[in-house]
Amino acid sequence: MDFGINFASILLGGLAAGTVLFIISVGLSVTMGLMGFVNLAHGAFAMFGGYVIVLAMNRAQLGFGVALALGFLVTAALSVGLERLLYRRLYRAGELDQVLFTIGLIFIFIAGITLAVGPESQPISLPAALRGQLNLGFVQYRTYSVFLIVVGLLIVAGIWLAFERTRIGAQIRATVDNRRMAESLGINVDRLFTITFAFGSGIAALGGGLGAEFLGLDPQYALKYLVYFLIAVSVGGLGSVVGVYLASLLLGTLDFVLKLYLPQGGTIFIYALTILLLLWRPQGLLGRKEA
């Protein structure tokens, strides 16, 4: 019985961590799959969004929900600006230039936030309704973790529905499959890119805010977790929402368990597993084989 309860709480904690990872990484997966753009600065958008959300709550005394919406909007608007002005010029450039450009953006974000807000970590205070424990029938668990898991499921379902059931989703799928054909059919690929990019960054901003409680929020965030975002995306498969969800849950749970039982150097297993998975399926778990 004891083991069952332990197992359930570890699973819940891991799933919550994985959900945050998913919310941050999913936009990266879609934009990378759609545009083939190696956007290492994606984590910086998550960080920026997290700062907007946390500062809106701490300094402007806004509610959690309002702050989340604000973070989504501000980050999406910022990313539209950056996409129109800068990213656009590099779509046809080589991967190296994209890597260099996005590393540069990360540095600018880090320095900008350090200058504007300060180098210290920003605490987040959750609303009272999300604090404390929740009785799930079989186990007592932190309300916030359960909340995160539910939000993650809603986001997966929402994105999946948007992909499969809306016109824009169909256009995105068509463009991922064959960009030239999509363009000749009259799909405005440029506009599609901008919309997807903004939406992906906005979702990442939500992830930055929702995850601030246990990932922390300091200017180094964008670099610190970069490898994790990239692992989630490459293991899940470019452009695959469900793949990234599975990969994130796997990664989050594994990380949670390893930190609990092997605090010294347990992450070595994550890297080893990633290498094995990528050698087994270079395109990721649910990614499509490149033609």
Partner: protein, 346 residues
């Protein structure tokens, strides 16, 4: 594209064709130019002009060597990697472990051991990694490096874990010249000599048919397959050589600093060397020199005074280079040079 055709067309030069201007260009490609002596003259001048900055100068030379190693894999063969610190670190830890545990402290053979160890890691990982490309390749290189770093962290009893191995005892170079921690004269000249030898090797390699075929693979892998070049084998060989040179750079770093720590295997180090190379101009022999001087001099003097401003400026610089100077500082210079020449020629 033109480089592919030159790689294919270079060998069968009959006597009659040698007078053709194109043939002359191809034959003369690898000749030494007068300006190629400049970096070495500058390096020697630095030794006499700034005796107080030789410690920094040594790190600069190590940085150049590491960037040169990366240039071989990334600039010439087009292998996109963010994990080259794996080999730098392997070299550094080889030298560090041998010296710290009192097994081997002779520096020159120590560097050869470092190169061998890094080459073994390069071969083992290259055989597997180079089957992939794009994001997957990038991720695999990062993960290999992270794996080694975590391994070094876990093997605390041997490697000192997070604290690293301090105060390594390195024997005098050639049994005569001692490494003095206060005055880096020996370190500087020793590093310069190693850099020079490695550079000669890389330069010869790059202009050889092997180097030409690497450029061909970078420019058009499909076509190189079609002309029957053993693409995978060449890539692996190039990766191993690049790893060995990176290992030498790491070994030098450990010897001249007399310590090793986990930062040798860090993503930061991989990213920095990538930035240095792209800043200077990749796929060019001297890009590593220009990039390392530009980056490390700026970092050395700016970062200490205003770390945040340095980060901001570095970010802006990278964005500007990526947007407007795709081929780095050297590419920018070449463009200006060409424009000037066309104008003065017409």
């Amino acid at each position: 594209m033109s480089e592919v055709s030159s790689a294919v067309a270079a060998p069968p030069l009959a006597g009659a064709a040698i007078d053709h201007p194109a043939a002359r260009v191809l034959i003369g490609r690898h000749r030494w130019r007068w300006w190629e002596a400049l970096p070495w003259i500058a390096a020697l001048a630095f030794y006499f002009a700034f005796p107080d900055y030789l410690g920094f100068g040594t790190q600069l030379l190590v940085g150049i060597l590491f960037a040169l190693a990366l240039d071989l894999a990334l600039g010439y063969a087009g292998i996109i990697t963010l994990g080259h610190a794996a080999f730098f670190g392997t070299g550094a830890y080889t030298v560090g472990l041998l010296a710290f545990h009192g097994i081997w402290s002779e520096p020159i053979s120590g560097l050869l051991l470092a190169a061998a160890a890094a080459a073994v890691v390069g071969l083992a990982s290259g055989l597997v990694l180079l089957r992939t490309k794009g994001l997957t390749l990038l991720m695999l290189t990062i993960c290999t490096m992270a794996l080694l770093q975590e391994g070094a962290n876990m093997a605390h009893d041997f490697t000192g874990g997070f604290d690293g191995l301090p105060s390594l005892d390195i024997a005098p170079v050639l049994g005569m010249f001692e490494f003095n921690p206060l005055y880096a004269n020996t370190q500087y000249l020793y590093t310069l000599a190693v850099l020079w030898l490695c550079f000669l090797f890389v330069r010869t390699l790059v202009y050889s048919p092997f180097g030409q075929s690497l450029t061909g693979i970078r420019e058009n892998m499909l076509r190189m397959h079609a002309v029957g070049a053993p693409v995978r084998r060449r890539l692996v060989i190039c990766y191993v050589i690049s790893a060995a040179i990176a290992g030498i750079a790491g070994g030098l770093w450990a010897q001249t600093n007399a310590y090793v720590n986990l930062s040798a295997l860090d993503l930061d180090r991989s990213a920095t060397v990538l930035i240095i190379l792209i800043l200077g101009g990749y796929g060019r022999l001297y890009g590593a020199f220009i990039g390392a001087v530009a980056y490390m001099a700026l970092e050395h003097f700016l970062a200490r005074i205003y770390p945040t401003a340095w980060q901001l400026e570095l970010g802006l610089l990278l964005v500007l280079v990526a947007l407007f100077a795709r081929n780095g500082i050297l590419g920018l210079g070449e463009g200006l040079w060409r424009r000037y020449h066309i104008r003065s020629g017409s």
